[in-house]
Symmetry: C2
C-alpha cells in the first residue's frame, strides 16, 4: 500500500514535469487529467497542445532499461486519440537520460504488453525539442 | 471550511455530469483537469472534443437566477482556448432547467465580474444538443 502510494506519486511527479516543459519550453498548454487512473473513460496521463497540434501521452519514469505498458493502457490511449483527434505518444524518462518520446505505433508488442527499451528509444525516439517541432 | 469543501464537491459533481453527457450523448471525449482550482496554469473545468471540434468549459450549478464568473476565471479560459485552439464556453445548470451553454464572448461584463442570467441564457444560450451540432 505504501509502495503503491509512492509509485502513484512518482507517476504524478513525472506528469507534472512534462506539463511544466510544455508550458515553459514549448509555449503549449498541458494538463493532467483528474482521476486518470480510476476513470471509467479512457484517460491519458497528459494532454498537451497548440492550435496546430494535439498530443496525448502516457508518461513514465524508470530506473530500468526497459519499460512495459499494458495492452489496456495503450489501447485506451489509441481510442482517446482517435475520438479526440490527437497524436498518441508514450514519454519515458530513463535514469540520467532526457525525456524521450515515441509514437505508440512504434512500440514493440509482446505477448502480454507493449515494451519500450532505452536502446530502441535512443535510436528512434524523439527528444522533447524534436517532438514539438 | 466545511462550506468550501461542499462547494468544491458540488462543483466537481457538475463537471462529472457534463463529462458523462459528452461521452454518452455526443460520443466525444471529455475530462476534468487535475488540480484545476489550484494549478499555476490556466485550467478549464472540463475539456471536451471530437476530431472536428474542441471545447473548453467553465461549469456551474446554481439555485440562483444569476451566476457570476470572476474576470480571472474568464480571462484564464480565454487564454487557454487561444493557445490550445478551442472554443471557450460557460455551462450552467439552473435549477429545474437543462444545461445551457454560452460562448464567453456573449457574457455580460460588469465592473467586477462577468454575469449570466437565466433569462439571457434562455434567449441566446444553447442546449447541449445544439452546442454539439
Amino acid at each position: 500500500m505504501v509502495h503503491q502510494r509512492w509509485a502513484k506519486r512518482k507517476g504524478s511527479d513525472a506528469e507534472r514535469e512534462l506539463v511544466d516543459m510544455f508550458w515553459s519550453v514549448a509555449g503549449w498548454t498541458a494538463h493532467r487529467i483528474a482521476g486518470s487512473g480510476s476513470s471509467k473513460y479512457p484517460s491519458p496521463d497528459v494532454i498537451a497542445g497548440s492550435v496546430q497540434r494535439k498530443i496525448v501521452i502516457e508518461a513514465k519514469k524508470t530506473k530500468d532499461k526497459t519499460k512495459y505498458f499494458s495492452k489496456e493502457e495503450i489501447e485506451s490511449l489509441r481510442l482517446f486519440s482517435k475520438i479526440f483527434g490527437a497524436e498518441p505518444y508514450i514519454a519515458i524518462k530513463f535514469q540520467k537520460e532526457n525525456w524521450l518520446f515515441l509514437s505508440i505505433e512504434d512500440l514493440e508488442e509482446t505477448n502480454k504488453s507493449f515494451k519500450a527499451t532505452l536502446e530502441r528509444l535512443k535510436q528512434i525516439g524523439l527528444l522533447f525539442e524534436e517532438m514539438i517541432k
